[in-house]
Symmetry: C2
Subunit: 377 residues, 2 copies
């Protein structure tokens, strides 16, 4: 008896570069791709309920192993029935492995071949992540897709250090797969290699050869130029060739980046950007970024974006939002977040449609004109 | 041609003391009484949307003249179509007159017979409120019920000072009425007099004799004992006799207080307490107060209150809420606020039903057992 694949998928080529449209079928729902996953770092997409996420059109969300394991702990979430029940979201969830957050800790971590020892940003306590523990945590969380544990490094480091981290990532990929997740949990491997084409090719060869259910591209959108990001996506796409598995670009992104990556075969994205910038008052519209703290908006009776059907745009004016931000009202952060998540998921819906009807270039041109090609959000 | 009354009302006596059940009909909707009004100080009931308020069963909400006039200013709200459109709430709104907030400023205000000069808590700028300006602001806001401008004092001050402030309140009541509001705006007068029975009676005589559309009881729930509050409500109820106008107890309250006041003929309440304590993690249930920051709740899979149908209780566990509060997630404040407003409005619904079916004493007993008689929330 063979175990049924935890997820199935089907992708069709399009007339746009290597862009694909398709779907990923999980026991908790189907994700039409290309798609963006809102990030629920601490078991909540900040300020939003699961109902808000459904209304925004979210198909799949992301949870963070690093944060959830520190608080409330993976064991506690497991006792409470797993992450889906804990946060009240019954759709698909992907969990990262903690590699990125541990990388972000800078001086608070020490990497060895077996894993990483780090200091909690919450209370200074010492913790350890290994490939086996990262997989165990994700099994406890019960996500639909777990990520292999990887080592991310600054792509600006000397080639040897980038190569070392990549090689370690490959060894950890083997161990992550060997540790395995739950029977109903897919596992994605992560390609590293910085901004070095030959390392990226080597990483695709190593990770692609393993029995992962999907391939993630890690180590981008961490400070490299947009040109380097595009070049690496090109290299990875070439190296993956006609690999049929889902391709997930981690930590991206901003509106223009989606087009750059989709054209190079990427199916999935995640990023905190839409919600993070929303909390500062920056909202995204078809005309580009709008800062709700701008004095001029205090008298603007129009919605954030006339084409958007989110709760903020249906019921409230820019003037009202501008007031809420000035008054530091909690509703400001919520409505701006609702808008940015809705708008971003709407953009992905339009992007999928554009791949079918030949309007991809026009849609992209509008977004680049509104947001700029190199904008980081 | 006579102007139609901006609001109509009808109250029926009950078998419970002086308690009444009835309705207040405004052009924007009917309020079944007794009822509690959630407070939207800065044009938002903190953390909640108008949709949340509807879902919670809110019939009427309150806006604050003091805060709204400082930011975004009454003139700006008027330019944007009035407070209802500005905040997206199309139900009835009552605005206070700013008297209470100015009182709260303590050393930042100076009272003379014409009005009050005070320093903004936002930027230190100097402002002035008079009965005429308070009414003008409320006309600009476009509330359905405006409040006369009054002078509140600490009831613990010497009798002469309490009497002086009351006399000034009566002169300001005349001026508020003379200034008037919009044609479609009802105006309520405010009874003062501290905790002195003879002053309270004098105030009811003075305010009750004027052509106000409703009578508010001010200057309570500001530090006096629960016994003093009950005694003053008794005095006011006696003095009002069979006055048919709506009676509104300002700034109350906590669950047990509603019963004390309803029994003494009060129809309307407002208070920031349900939302303010929610943001500290205190939620109200049929079993009393629950602090969501309690360590024991981190493993509690049950809802805040099994009998509550709010979004927090339908979709989330105490354990999840406890996590959100520990993680200082914005969703914590929102869900706890949704719950407390829903629970409080549900209590008022049960209270109204209990006046009809004879179960008032039993309902009250349960609430007093759960919350204590003298609890301030």
């Amino acid at each position: 008896m063979s175990t049924p694949a935890p997820i199935t998928h089907s992708f069709r080529p399009t007339a746009v570069g290597r862009a694909r449209v398709g779907s990923i079928v999980t026991p908790r729902g189907t994700i039409e791709t290309p798609e963006f996953m809102p990030v629920g770092t601490q078991a909540t997409v900040k300020a939003l309920t699961p109902g808000d996420l459904r209304a925004a059109g979210a198909q799949m969300i992301l949870g963070n192993t690093y944060h959830l394991n520190l608080r409330p702990t993976a064991e506690r979430i497991a006792r409470l029935g797993g992450l889906h029940r804990f946060m009240g979201w019954d759709g698909p969830i992907l969990t990262d492995s903690g590699g990125f957050q541990v990388f972000s800790l800078a001086d608070l971590r020490r990497v060895d071949d077996d894993g990483v020892t780090f200091t909690s940003h919450l209370d200074g306590s010492t913790h350890r992540l290994t490939p086996e523990r990262a997989m165990e945590i994700q099994a406890l969380l019960g996500s639909d897709v777990a990520m292999a544990f990887d080592q991310l490094v600054d792509p600006g480091l000397p080639r040897e250090q980038v190569a070392d981290a990549m090689e370690r990532t490959h060894r950890w990929a083997h161990r992550s797969l060997a540790a395995g997740g739950r029977p109903d949990q897919a596992v994605f491997g992560i390609v590293q290699g910085g901004v070095d084409p030959s390392l990226r090719r080597a990483s695709v060869a190593a990770i692609g050869a393993l029995a992962f259910d999907g391939i993630a591209i890690g180590g981008l959108s961490v400070g490299e130029s947009k040109a380097d990001m595009a070049a690496m996506l090109e290299v990875v796409a070439d190296a993956l060739g006609d690999d049929l598995r889902p391709r997930y670009l981690m930590g991206v992104g901003s509106p223009a980046d989606f087009f750059t990556a989709v054209e190079r075969g990427v199916d999935l994205f995640d990023c905190v950007l839409p919600t993070r910038v929303a909390r500062t008052g920056q909202v995204w519209t078809d005309a580009g970024r709008l800062n709700l703290r701008n004095a001029a908006l205090q008298d603007d009776p129009g919605p954030i974006d006339a084409g958007c059907a989110c709760e903020a745009c249906r019921n409230h004016s820019r003037a009202y939002l501008a007031h809420l931000f000035r008054a530091r009202e909690l509703l400001a952060y919520r409505l701006a977040s609702v808008h940015n998540v809705t708008w971003t998921l709407g953009l992905m819906r339009r992007l999928r449609a554009s791949l079918a009807d030949g309007s991809f270039a026009a849609l992209r041109e509008g977004v680049v004109r509104a947001f700029g090609r190199d904008a980081a959000g």
